[in-house]
Symmetry: none
Subunit: 434 residues, 2 copies
């Protein structure tokens, strides 16, 4: 089967009434499309069908007409409307067989939680004859892998976290084995501090289509990710293995882009700002305390999302009311009265008080108006003051984070809060650069 998949295409089948009815947006297909492209397998078609046996079987036929690799997600749950298992068996022309090992795993899953396995979950231990089960470490639905006349099929759960884990742990290694003779290395650079179009201008022709490595750009809540996709074939350079060749190309571009973008680049791979800040704090043996108003815990949450955060993050205050700012942090009441809770002065006092109370190297204070109400002409929704205090003094900055249409008030609030917390981390990062 080696080299089977080389230069081959993929098709995706997403299954679930909730996708067709618009109750759930199918992010799985898009995520898989990006993953497959990053190893050089283009997705040529994608089918979405409801929980209907015949429709699923038909879509599997169509997908396998289109491509040598078919990835299927959804419909593996325990309830009667989950029919992917049955449909896949019908498509393969085989029957579902109970796998006792799987049944045991599912029973263990419940037992660990001091629960009895509901009778309905037993169906998840059935796999089409001749196919292979893919173990699901996050849920009860095993995936299924099968090969039919040179075509490879992977069935995965629809729950995105379960699907992603299964793809990365079990599906991707299978695919990489089949890519013999060609190597694709993807490196990612993570940037913060400017917009996508600005970065595109800074990089110019490096982002041209057809260039190898190919450089793609995606943006999410202010974080710009540059994907460097280097492809090398065995014939490119006989002195190097394909992987070494692709690796060298990607590294060369990584260095080039890092030089061009300077301190806008905060990390690589999947690193988050909180992770990079945490690493630097740990390396420099420094601690951090935060005092949050408008972000209401978002900054502390980002910091403590990182395993081991307790090594450098010890104290956080969410002083949502003025009274809390005064009693818990010790911000002077007359300062709030004179300048307002949303002011440069209050942000600075919050950062200083937090640092002092926690006896930490750094203190961060964030105060602003997350909306949707509470804004005025002088202090509009989106106005945020952020202060980073340290032994070298304190730096306070004023921001107005994008406040968009009236129709999206809730999303706007989320955006402003996350943007404020990320910007605070970025201010601290720049202070931690050596």
């Amino acid at each position: 089967m080696a080299k089977e998949i080389k230069n081959k295409k993929a098709s995706i089948v997403s299954i679930g009434n909730e996708i067709l009815s618009g109750q759930t947006i199918d992010t799985n297909a898009s995520w898989l499309g990006g993953k497959l492209l990053s190893i050089g397998i283009p997705v040529v078609s994608s089918y979405t069908v409801g929980d209907c046996l015949d429709a699923i079987v038909r879509s599997l036929k169509l997908a396998s007409d289109d491509a040598e690799l078919v990835l299927i997600t959804g419909g593996l749950g325990p309830t009667d409307d989950d029919l992917t298992r049955q449909a896949f068996a019908k498509f393969l022309g085989t029957e579902l067989l109970l796998q006792n090992e799987l049944l045991q795993k599912i029973q263990d899953f419940f037992a660990k939680r001091n629960l009895q396995m509901p009778a309905k979950n037993k169906i998840q231990a059935y796999i089409p004859a001749g196919a292979k089960a893919l173990i699901n470490n996050l849920g009860t639905a095993p995936g299924i892998m099968a090969e039919v006349s040179g075509r490879l099929f992977f069935v995965m759960p629809g729950v995105p976290s379960e699907m992603k884990q299964m793809f990365e742990e079990l599906v991707l290694p299978e695919l990489l084995q089949l890519l013999d003779g060609r190597a694709v290395v993807v490196k990612k650079l993570r940037c913060f501090g400017t917009g996508e179009s600005n970065i595109a201008e800074m990089l110019g022709s490096l982002m041209n289509r057809g260039r190898n490595p190919q450089i793609n750009c995606t943006a999410s809540y202010g974080v710009i990710t540059l994907h460097i996709i280097a492809t090398a074939e065995d014939r490119d350079n006989p002195a190097l293995s394909e992987v070494e060749g692709a690796q060298r190309m990607a590294e060369k571009d990584e260095k080039l882009l890092t030089e061009l973008l300077g301190e806008l680049v905060y990390g690589t791979g999947r690193q988050t700002l909180a992770e990079v800040v945490g690493e630097k704090l740990a390396q420099q043996n420094k601690t951090l305390a935060v005092a949050e108003s408008c972000t209401g815990g978002t900054l502390a949450k980002l910091l403590t999302d990182i395993p081991g955060a307790s090594g450098y993050f010890t104290h956080g205050w969410i002083t949502y009311s003025n009274a809390a700012k005064i009693s818990e942090l010790g911000v002077p009441a007359d300062l709030i009265e004179n300048y307002g809770a949303v002011s440069e002065q209050t942000a600075a006092a919050m950062a200083r008080c937090a640092r002092k109370k926690a006896v930490s190297a750094f203190g961060i204070g964030v105060t602003g108006i997350a909306g949707p109400s509470g804004g005025s002409e002088q202090k509009p929704v989106g106005l945020v003051y952020i202060c980073v205090d340290s032994a070298n003094g304190c730096e306070t900055k004023r921001f107005i984070f994008s406040h968009a249409s009236n129709r999206a008030k809730r999303r706007d609030r989320d955006f402003i809060r996350l943007q404020a917390a990320q910007t605070a981390l970025n201010m601290l990062r720049l202070k931690l650069q050596i």
Copy 2:
């Protein structure tokens, strides 16, 4: 043609390389699915293809085999890789004809912006012979409508804002004209406190396929959503309008399910636990303070995600270190020494101290082991104690939230933290029930 579409189905075709490669998530299909369902037209299939003439033609054939109504988005731009127009003409077996009126409109679009129309945009003024143009008020790409042997086709731009406006202004009115005599009402119930399969067992035959209202179930981080989809026709009950009829059916089921599931149901529509808890606190004029250890701000963030949270949430402490628990909250040092930071006693002391310091009606304390490290046999990763303290005394509960494989340590940590924060909100909710 009136009533042609009645009891009919739809299929969606999304066109664009950027969707297949994962650079863009296709939100159009989902949005259209929701819109169509709300007028009683179920989407039965959805196809995504790249910018390739033959693939588009094939998908149009497949979609028109599936359904009487076909909605197509994307590929109407002016560049050479936009091929939907050409493919639609080929599918219809006709030619593209220049429509001078459309050309004028496109030229006007540029003129208004003091720009010359680029030559490439002329292609957008071509429409298949026999089809009708749909005016785009937001961009240069007109849509296309055509009817072929009782099947209706609408081609719309891929830019979501342009697509949505065109659908609501031009497509929806056409569809409503054809729908006379049927209405669909969708209601959602939100549940917390048990799993999907358990709820399915409790509801039994109510979830049978083909039942009207149809009841679907989706799950996300412990929140189970039940979708009640009621369809009524004018012949069902001549004394009621179809909308009233469907409304009554949905309400009847909503009541029935709420009775069956009891306090597992926390809300309706898109309500979150934090929203419901916030509403109840506001109604009862009660305040809340939280002291978090392992959740590290997650609980405070969920609470302050809700606009207006400052009305009932005033104080939060993230006491990530033992020192912070002692100095900031006043948890007795010997209590932590005797029982450990992760213990029923510490959780209770945190909740009590938070309530006392904030002078609030409720105090919540959360302490646990989010992992990946820090677990032991007695106190494994996932162990969390949650206490809700009030004038009626305090209730502390012990949980072990799912701890899965080693490879997913980070996601596991997120899961445990979010699950702990949601469970804390749910414990408070049950105390706020009147």
